[in-house]
Point group: C2
Chain length 229, copies 2
């Protein structure tokens, strides 16, 4: 069902349970001791299995973090829907979607750094830009589509097809910043969110003005440059 679960299929119910037990043990230890400090031997012991079992269900230590990421992502659907329903203001909707993520990740901020490192290379199975994560990525982008639909901001025709992905990218950037943000309670990230959201929305409004045509064309050219090939 979800493409990036490894192994492709788990046959029995007992196996499914073991799989979960390992992930739970891992998350518990990662949170207690930190990702680096908790060894795979620790994880296996905590889960009551042999070391090799962890690798039967997960490709690597980072893959456990990816499993966490996918788990939260599944759980987010309801919260996302609530955000969209609660307001027609695009600014509030986008902020809402992003804050749902922050809330979910809050208890495991350090942990996600491991994913960040693995994900540097788009060819890595754990990259948020890679092939194996396409499904989650597209589902996430779809939420931004829904946020735009029926909102208070009218989007120029030529920009419209790109906007959902751009907002998703914007969100990824903020999450990246949030993960490495050392300020107390990640205040810098929240200030950055405020400031950039204002800017993004204003840019969207301004971009519809007739005299902004050329600038908009340039911006679209940038997108094409990245996409082609």
């Amino acid at each position: 069902m979800v493409a990036s679960v490894y192994p492709a299929a788990v046959a029995t119910a007992k196996a499914e349970e073991t799989r979960n037990r390992i992930l739970d043990a891992a998350l518990r230890l990662f949170q207690q001791r930190g990702f680096e400090a908790a060894t795979m031997r620790d994880v296996a012991t905590e889960a009551g299995v042999a070391t090799g079992a962890a690798y039967y269900y997960y490709r690597s230590k980072e893959d456990l973090v990816m499993a966490f990421y996918l788990r939260t992502d599944k759980e987010a659907g309801e919260s996302f829907a609530n955000v969209i329903t609660s307001t027609k203001e695009l600014k509030k909707r986008v902020r809402g979607l992003i804050e749902v993520k922050f809330d979910q990740f809050a208890a495991h901020r350090e942990l996600l750094k491991a994913l960040l490192k693995a994900g540097v290379d788009p060819r890595d199975p754990l990259s948020p830009f890679g092939e194996e994560t396409r499904e989650v990525r597209e589902q996430n982008i779809a939420w931004f589509s829904r946020a735009i639909e029926g909102s208070d901001v009218s989007v120029p025709k030529d920009v419209a097809p790109h906007l959902p992905r751009l907002l998703w990218l914007y969100q990824m950037g903020l999450i990246y910043f949030w993960i490495v943000d050392q300020s107390p309670e990640q205040r810098r990230t929240h200030r950055l969110l405020d400031a950039t959201l204002d800017l993004v929305i204003q840019l969207l409004r301004v971009s519809s003005l007739p005299l902004m045509g050329p600038l908009r064309k340039r911006a679209l050219k940038v997108l094409r440059a990245v996409d082609e090939d």
Copy 2:
């Protein structure tokens, strides 16, 4: 002299030579076999020293890549100066500075991915945003200052103090993209460079227009949000 050389000081000339021998051996092997495939034992053997010696001079395997980065950076000074002298057009200057980097890194593109991974965390000594790399970073930013000075683009007073760092950041983003770009000869990156440079320059020109005041203020607010604390 350069803050981020490890260890802080090398006492004797023979030691300096050993240090270089290890780095040269490492780069040779990294290029031949790839960063992952070449082990520290290989590197030490190739350099004619014991394994431990590599760690006497370099903190980690990634630190060898950092040493490469610093070395090229030292060598870039002359090329940078040539770029600035060769034209008054800001666009060409910025493009020139960035392409000097690409040229220097060209033979070791894969290698830099290792730095990218380590540098995800600004607290990591190898992060381009961290404390230990401040000196190189500020020197690089200074080159962008020089590129702006006496160029064909007039910068609004309020934007001026931020622009060098912004251009540096822009360059870092492009380098990041270039490193992971799998298209033949990194064509996507070059197209992206073309398209975004046009956009950046046009944005700069437009930003001086009186009616752009509010938008500019918003953008500056973003910068303050990131800097404060």
